[in-house]
Subunit: 336 residues, 2 copies
Amino acid sequence: MAFSKGPQAARITSTDVARAAGVSRATVSFVLNGTSTARISEETRSRVLAAADELGYVPHAAARSLRAGRSDLILLPAAVSATGRLFSDWVDDMETALGERGYTVVLHGNRSPDPVTAARAWAQLRPAAVLAMAPNSLTAEAVQVLAQAGTTAVLTIAPEPMPGVFTLLGDQSDIGRVAAEHLVSRGRRRIGVLMPTERGLSAFAEPRLAGIQRVATVHGATVTPLPMPYGGEAASALAVLCRELGLDAVFGYNDEYAALLSAALNDHGVDVPGQIAVVGADDLLLAQIVRPQLTSVRYRLPAADLIADTVDSLINRGTAEPLPSVWFEPVPRQSS
Amino acid sequence: MAFSKGPQAARITSTDVARAAGVSRATVSFVLNGTSTARISEETRSRVLAAADELGYVPHAAARSLRAGRSDLILLPAAVSATGRLFSDWVDDMETALGERGYTVVLHGNRSPDPVTAARAWAQLRPAAVLAMAPNSLTAEAVQVLAQAGTTAVLTIAPEPMPGVFTLLGDQSDIGRVAAEHLVSRGRRRIGVLMPTERGLSAFAEPRLAGIQRVATVHGATVTPLPMPYGGEAASALAVLCRELGLDAVFGYNDEYAALLSAALNDHGVDVPGQIAVVGADDLLLAQIVRPQLTSVRYRLPAADLIADTVDSLINRGTAEPLPSVWFEPVPRQSS
């Protein structure tokens, strides 16, 4: 297939609108940006709007925000690939809730080596708010970079409140703690922990491992981290390794990785949970689809509408009511 | 938890940088945007860069693009929730490949009722390129809106080349065709087709259904569309319905929906594939994890690096070499 440009549409600027309406560019700008301080007659306003409509002129969001001194852009740093359905459903709900409140939401796949470099990349888009929900995605210096670029609302999830950041209280290590307490209560003492090697996931995997290690220490259990890329061959190799190591339980990072390992254990004749118990996290539908059904750790963020109201309040009033903490609970099924 | 603003960082603008460096704002702009036409001494350039660094000033991407007349922003319209891992992995690869070429990629969750309204929302961000990969997400008028806003590269996947759009040739109906040919070859003649009710998926589900219907007509098979929200209760109800309708096969839209229905059929004592064969699409790892293992339809887009080179070429040279078409093939497993 050869690519051919179609009939090339000329770029339409506010100058074209001004010419068509017989007014100045400043007047076009006043009308289209709803600047209330300027006195413009209803007749002129109608003429400008008609000309803009006729020409198909779309105002430039960034130019508008430059003039108005504020942006309607809300940035969610997120690597979409590895997050799993729990987070992506939440992002979808946030897009709806913030869209209903007049904001434009964009996702920015974070590839920066550290929080300050990441914050600089986000700041270039001049978002009104940044929702940095991954653990350790912010530092004081990163928050400063955003504030200096005019971002008025920064949200995160963290175990402790962060200065200058609206913090939803929640601790990834609680997921590991809940999983480990469940396994220990079932008599398991030799626990493997899947550590995904995919980009961006160690920020979630490391605190989950730490939570497991704390429980294991109390109960004299051993903990073995097991690095795992998401793939059938790696799962197969790890299944053999789990058997060789004499593990009696594996925490599978989340339901997707746990289900993959559980299937591989089954392929290698290892009885789940007879020989090795498997626990996931996120409580996806997947946990109920696979056999044996997968024990999981359920957790829930505050509703998207609640968070959207918070963002709106932070942008417009600089303050917001506290939100409920993230909560966690075990969901025992056949695999443990 | 009460939210308290931390030490408020003052907003830093190019005026602050100009003051600190003892130069004009225009000079700051010339230096930070690398405008080559302006003659600025090395000493002045160093002073400006040092001041910007000292103050922690981050250039505004949109302001830079306004001045330079071009944007480095690439917009991918995508509802992250319902796309599934195949697409989200591809998006992740595209973000990496385009990032390596100096572009900033943002995802825009498309909530617009029609292509033109959607294009207007995208156009407000003034992207250099729009990668609108969902079927029917563009019309000639929508392409015009983008061109008028200065977007130089628009890409899509479609069965036929679209004027003014770089079209990757690929047809969602081929997924249905491949699935139906497989089922018919196994003697199935009463085919149910899952139709997800989630936002944004009918654009994929409708052509898949059409592809199945074309094959069914040729072979005297019946086709029954079955609307299904992604959830355990809906799957359970549909499993009962499939049995009542006397279906002997179900095309499950994709592997995630197909696996959910297959598990529900199993729960209701329906033998898969003995009584009802199930086929998914995307060939996710999930298809190998569930029991019975799921027959699927595999398809692949051209590599992200290849598409990124195409985008780069369209932006900088207005033209690009053709890319290979999307291809499809059946992957038979236990469920059919």
